[in-house]
């Protein structure tokens, strides 16, 4: 039998104004298990807490009921008080007689009667409380970063600098991601390569970082602190340890007509290739679909010219298994396909391009060596139209566009427009926009400079139709401010395509049991307070996989994710929330109902031997809950037909006792 102390708080007049606190304390004295009952002006004050501690000692209390404000307010406070008094912190229950009683009822008798009933329910529950101790599990002190763009790079560097080993898995042959394809970065206009490539080198040289390029994650098991991950290293037919990146093979390869992904298909690369000069690792990769040696067994030129003997046509996909304590998702984004927007003639004219293609056109390492030339005829364009929000903010049809704002387009378009006017002042530049969205440090100033100093024509309105005719692009658009329809004969049109999460994110989310929103962006544990954590413990989010982001935001989120990972890896043991589910093996049927409803994959099954009353043994399949993974929602407890699954702190008999006390 418990020895329960009841402590009724006045909360000044907040409670005492509508609830006769003395009557409540008096009434609860008669409840089973209650050996002490009192009231006080401010129970949460130091004096109030001391009163509780003294009472515990004086009356040998084993459980506490605090009739006060909402447990969401002070449950943690009173648990600490209980601990200070030498009690298990989970031997405390709060009766919420302020928010749910004194503040919502006006008459003293009504409030008092309800407060007594709420107190009785809390007493009934505490009678069934048991001391709870959080579970512990070990932590593998190694992190996995999935994605090697700027988000992944920054996260990996920050974790590694704190002294923990990190592996980066990147599907492409090199790390660098989208940022490596960019020319300049807003709003400072520093060159992307100049700030990114040193970081890529840092990654390559960091003793705590391993890069698995041309690789992907194929399986994830385990839980926070203890993930077992399988990584597939795709065959690149080049021995990474031998290749020096000299490029001789690339020069000699006869299969030169393959669209160059790095330049958005605007020029060609050979079948064996190094994506770009500063690639990390700087190792050649053979495109198996394009190589005649791999397809037909003829050629072998690259192998002949390779001084390092690195070419290996027999290389196979390799599977690596590794343990990690934390996983960071940094799978990034891609521009959406423009196929469904052919009112802008993307498929009809080479001179209608996306912004990322424009980036490559202006990049010194791009297909035109940085000279702004039209893809169709290599002529310099004199009139350029930029169209904003192509596929962004598009709620009409899910297969066409995205309902969200892609966030980065307003700024990079301002950048493109400004740089064009700066380099080629003879070029007329038009930007059609719905709204110009520039929240960010120095962002609006940047956009205004494009208008005021560089003379970019910003027109509020959308483009409705682009008609390629001869060598011009007839742009038909609306100017909402002057209420006119405009007709512009442009030489080049640049579409600010909406961005979407990388296609690899969806299967990865399934492997990680991490949740996604309807747009396939990863969901954060809390949109405001836990923005870099996934709801799945031990899985963290970095960069655009969580939502559209620019570089500064991505880098800060990458750092934040890293600090969360470091915080996790610093721990030797993880302590969990003790209010979690547990299965009574004697009653468990092994039916898998609980497993199916668990949002966290916390429940597993194993065959166990049981001694039966007739001294025989039986092997039964029974559930067990991983305390490090369970978050304590209780979905399993209701799915379980036998009642074998119960939730600590909110047990069946505890809730039933509350029901009984209320309905008495």
């Amino acid at each position: 039998m418990q020895r329960i102390g009841v402590f009724v708080c006045w909360c000044g007049s907040n409670i005492a104004g509508t609830v006769d606190v003395k009557a409540v304390a008096e009434a609860l004295k008669a409840e089973p298990g209650v050996v002490y009952s009192t009231d006080y002006q401010y129970m949460c004050s130091q004096a109030g807490q001391n009163l509780i501690i003294d009472a515990v000692k004086e009356h040998n209390l084993t459980g506490l009921v605090i009739c006060s404000c909402s447990p969401r307010m002070h449950e943690a406070t009173f648990r600490k008080t209980a601990a200070a008094a030498g009690l298990n912190p989970y031997m405390v229950e709060i009766a919420n007689i302020r928010e749910q009683c004194s503040w919502v009822h006006k008459e003293m008798p009504v409030g008092t009667e309800k407060a007594i009933i709420l107190g009785k329910a809390a007493v009934a529950k505490v009678n069934l409380n048991t001391p709870l101790t959080p579970g512990e599990s070990p932590v593998t002190k190694r992190a996995l970063v999935i994605g090697g763009g700027i988000a992944g790079i920054q996260t990996a560097l920050d974790i590694a600098d704190a002294g923990f080993p990190v592996d980066i898995v990147e599907t492409k042959p090199t790390i660098g991601g989208k940022m490596a394809q960019l020319d300049k970065t807003f709003p400072t206009l520093d060159c992307a390569a100049c700030i990114l490539t040193p970081k890529m080198v840092d990654v390559a040289q960091h003793e705590k970082i391993r890069i698995f390029s041309y690789s992907e994650v194929t399986d994830v098991k385990g839980f926070v602190g203890n993930f077992d991950v399988t990584i597939k290293k795709k065959a690149r037919f080049v021995d990474e340890t031998k290749c020096t990146g000299c490029g001789d093979c690339v020069d000699k390869c006869p299969m030169k007509k393959n669209p160059n992904e790095f330049n958005m298909g605007m020029d060609n690369r050979s079948a064996i290739y190094i994506p770009f000069a500063q690639a990390v690792p700087k190792v050649a990769t053979i495109d198996a679909g394009a190589c005649t040696m791999l397809k037909k067994g003829k050629c072998g030129l690259c192998s002949k010219v390779c001084g390092a003997g690195a070419i290996d046509y027999t290389q196979k996909d390799e599977f690596i298994e590794e343990k990690y304590g934390a996983i960071v998702v940094a799978t990034g984004f891609n521009p959406i396909s423009m196929d469904k927007f052919d009112e802008y003639a993307y498929n009809q004219s080479k001179d209608v391009i996306t912004s990322l293609e424009f980036e490559r056109l202006t990049n010194a390492a791009g297909p035109t060596q940085g000279k702004l030339l039209r893809p169709s005829d290599g002529k310099h364009p004199h009139k350029i139209v930029f169209v904003q929000c192509v596929g962004s903010r598009c709620a009409a049809c899910a297969e066409k566009g995205k309902e969200y704002c892609s966030k980065i387009c307003c700024m990079y378009t301002a950048k493109h427009a400004m740089l064009t006017r700066d380099k080629y002042p003879d070029t007329e530049v038009y930007v059609f926009y719905i709204d110009v969205r520039t929240p960010g440090k120095n962002f609006d100033e940047f956009y205004r400079r494009a208008v005021e100093e560089y003379g970019v024509n910003y027109i509020k309105g959308m483009v409705g139709k682009i008609v390629p005719e001869g060598d011009v692009l007839k742009v038909q658009a609306s100017d909402l401010i002057s209420n006119k329809q405009l007709h512009i004969d442009a030489d080049l049109v640049v579409l600010a395509a909406a961005i979407e999460p990388d296609k690899s994110a969806r299967p990865l989310a399934t492997m990680l049991t991490a949740s996604m929103d309807t747009n396939d962006f990863f969901t954060e544990a809390h949109p405001k307070l836990r923005p870099v954590e996934s709801p799945t413990a031990g899985v963290f989010l970095s960069g655009a996989c969580q939502g559209p982001k620019d570089i500064p935001e991505t880098v800060s989120q990458a750092g934040a994710a890293a600090s969360k990972v470091i915080g996790l890896l610093c721990k030797d043991k993880l302590t969990g929330n003790p209010c979690i589910a547990s299965a009574n093996e004697m009653m468990c049927n092994g039916c898998s109902s609980c497993e199916r409803v668990c949002p966290y994959g916390a429940i597993t099954y194993s065959d166990k031997e049981f001694r039966m009353p007739d001294r025989t043994t039986q092997i039964r399949r029974v559930a067990s809950v991983n305390p490090a993974v369970c978050q304590g929602c209780g979905a399993c407890t209701v799915a379980c037909p036998s009642g074998a699954m119960d939730l600590r702190g909110f047990a069946n008999n505890q809730i039933m006792a509350e029901v009984d006390a209320i309905c008495k």
């Binding site: 196929d339 469904k340 049809c397 008609v467 005719e469």
Partner: protein
């Protein structure tokens, strides 16, 4: 393959060619077009308003008649197809509207948009197959550079019509290829010719029609094909200086059955 066929008023009159060659070609391709008995004019344009009931009844009657025969409904005129298909969609999706219509018709069974509605082009693509068609071509139109003119009625509204990508359609280009000619893609192929505005504002119709023809020519078209009598009228009346013909004429020519329809 048997289909219910809704020709429409213009096809019985000014656009006999469109009808005649459609029937002849279908016959050759093994598609039987059974003309719906006592069909009534579709009205030319679909009235989008949900409280317009009477203007949609002729379409519903044709659809219901087709349903009773258990066939798909085929029409060749863009306008008829558009009106019937949109009406069918409204019967499927707008319950309040369908109730009104069914109460008005007061027939034994209600109609809720069960009939499949096809344009002749869809019949060629999805039922006959362009590959089959290609095999039947005896007179390939080699070297002809042809611009397909879709106009608006075949493609829009896309959520209802669903024939093809409304901004980058290929069905007529694929037909042109199957007939052995070279399609010319031009952006204005899905822009409006002016339509019935020829009554209200002939200048506007002229402007729109010219934009279509000029764009087609600039991209290299030597001939324009269409499925719509009004499109053809507007383009020619407003001074098209390349031939504008019905796609069925071209089809018949390639199949080797071209002859004078007005005989």
């Amino acid at each position: 393959m048997k289909f219910s066929y809704f020709p429409g008023c213009t096809l019985k009159n000014k656009a006999k060619d469109l009808d005649f060659y459609a029937r002849r070609s279908a016959e050759l391709l093994g598609a039987e077009l059974e003309e719906i008995e006592n069909w009534q004019c579709c009205g030319g344009v679909f009235t989008t308003s949900r409280d317009e009931v009477a203007t949609k009844l002729s379409s519903v009657r044709a659809l219901k008649d087709t349903q009773a025969k258990g066939q798909a409904l085929v029409s060749v005129c863009s306008a008829c197809h558009n009106v019937i298909k949109q009406t069918n969609h409204a019967m499927q999706t707008d319950k309040a509207f369908a109730d009104k219509v069914n109460r008005y018709m007061a027939e034994e069974s209600d109609y809720n948009g069960e009939t499949e509605v096809l344009h002749y082009l869809e019949m060629l693509r999805d039922k006959v197959g362009f590959d089959t068609l290609k095999e039947k071509v005896v007179n390939p139109l080699k070297g002809k550079k042809i611009g397909a003119y879709y106009g608006c009625l075949l493609l829009r509204p896309n959520t209802v019509m669903g024939m093809d990508d409304p901004e980058n359609p290929t069905i007529m280009e694929d037909l042109i290829k199957a007939l052995g000619a070279t399609p010319v893609v031009y952006a204005n192929r899905n822009e409006c010719c002016g339509g019935y505005i020829a009554v209200e504002s002939p200048e506007l119709a002229k402007k729109r029609s010219n934009a279509v023809v000029e764009n087609a020519k600039a991209q290299g078209a030597e001939m324009i094909i269409t499925a719509c009598p009004l499109c053809k009228y507007n383009l020619i009346k407003n001074g098209a200086d390349i031939p504008v013909v019905y796609f069925t004429e071209l089809l018949a020519e390639a199949l080797g059955i071209k002859e004078d329809a007005n005989e």
